[in-house]
């Protein structure tokens, strides 16, 4: 049986469209806040924008993964699926971890005003992806990411925004789980989750647009 016969166009199309919409939404936040940063040159806004740029890159890596998969199916050229998923996992998890790191730093930069923290964010994200060749454990990855979300919650204590930041990051982790444990949720359940993700991000964008019109 050819790879093409295993290919589910509806599932693929939904996944692809979802990733494109999310990338556009994250890029929208990044671009819409450009004006505020340009005038103020305020570092907190710069790190906030970087967080959403890296979230966009993380989801764009998912698009890359799906595009390569589609090309392989179309050409019926055989590449071990494991290689593809590891490369994709590297990019997605690296960009995702950096994004959460920037989100944390955007709230604490006044207390930890040091360029070394930015190097630390990238090194930490790199260390996370090094887990994969050493025997990737999704559970370990989730624990690390949950730790980062806990950090977001702590550094933003007393601020309403901590719930929204944490939710965006939680949805991100759940996206990772769905991406790598394909059989965990049914197609319908994934669809509901994807719609919820878009609603959550729309709410976030509405909050940004209140200021960055």
């Amino acid at each position: 049986m050819s790879a093409y016969q295993h290919f589910d166009l509806l599932r693929f199309g939904t996944e692809f469209a979802y990733s494109v919409v999310i990338v556009i939404m994250f890029l929208f936040i990044y671009l819409k806040t450009k004006g505020l940063f340009k005038i103020s040159k305020y570092r907190g806004i710069r790190y906030f924008r970087n967080a959403f740029l890296f979230f966009a890159l993380a989801y764009a890596s998912r698009i890359l993964y799906h595009s390569v998969k589609l090309m392989l199916v179309a050409s019926e050229y055989h590449v071990p699926g494991r290689v593809l998923s590891v490369i994709s996992l590297f990019l997605v998890s690296y960009f995702g971890s950096v994004a959460i790191g920037y989100l944390i730093y955007s709230s604490i930069w006044k207390k930890v005003e040091h360029w070394k923290f930015l190097v630390f964010i990238h090194l930490f994200a790199f260390m996370v992806i090094l887990l994969f060749p050493l025997g990737f454990s999704l559970l370990l990855f989730i624990v690390i990411q949950l730790g980062m979300i806990a950090a977001i919650f702590i550094v933003n204590r007393g601020k309403k925004i901590r719930y929204l930041y944490s939710l965006v990051s939680l949805f991100w982790i759940f996206n990772m789980i769905i991406l790598y444990t394909r059989s965990l949720l049914s197609f319908e359940a994934k669809l509901v989750f994807q719609v919820l993700s878009v609603i959550l991000l729309s709410y976030f964008i509405a909050k940004v647009l209140k200021w960055a019109k």
Binding site: T33, L36, I39, S40, K41, Y42, G44, I45, Y47, F48, S106, S107, K110, N156, K159, I161, R162, K207, V208, K210, W211, A212
Partner: protein, 94 residues
């Protein structure tokens, strides 16, 4: 009991400096700006250099070679957009 003064935040200090320049017909001597900004010489110097690097203010000289501080176009935009920037920074805890 004495009045407890709230420590001004960074954005607020920058706004105050820019507003002082604007209120002085967009031209003020550095020493007068230092006095009106209520900052120590060290802090004032740090903020002053930062604002110059961000191209919010610039130095000009009159015919007698006296130095004055004025706002750039970015400085005027900052003044106009300050409430928005402050609201955004507060809302997202940046």
């Amino acid at each position: 009991m004495g009045k407890v003064e709230r420590k001004r935040e960074r954005l607020e200090i920058i706004y105050d400096i820019i507003k002082i320049i604007n209120d002085n017909h967009n031209s003020i001597r550095p020493t007068r700006l230092l006095r009106q900004s209520n900052l120590s010489s060290k802090s004032f110097s740090d903020y002053f250099n930062e604002l110059r690097e961000k191209e919010l203010i610039k130095e000009i000289y009159d015919k007698k070679g006296r130095k004055y501080i004025t706002l750039t176009d970015n400085g005027f935009k900052y003044l106009e957009k300050y409430a928005v920037i402050k609201g955004f920074v507060d809302e997202f805890n940046l």
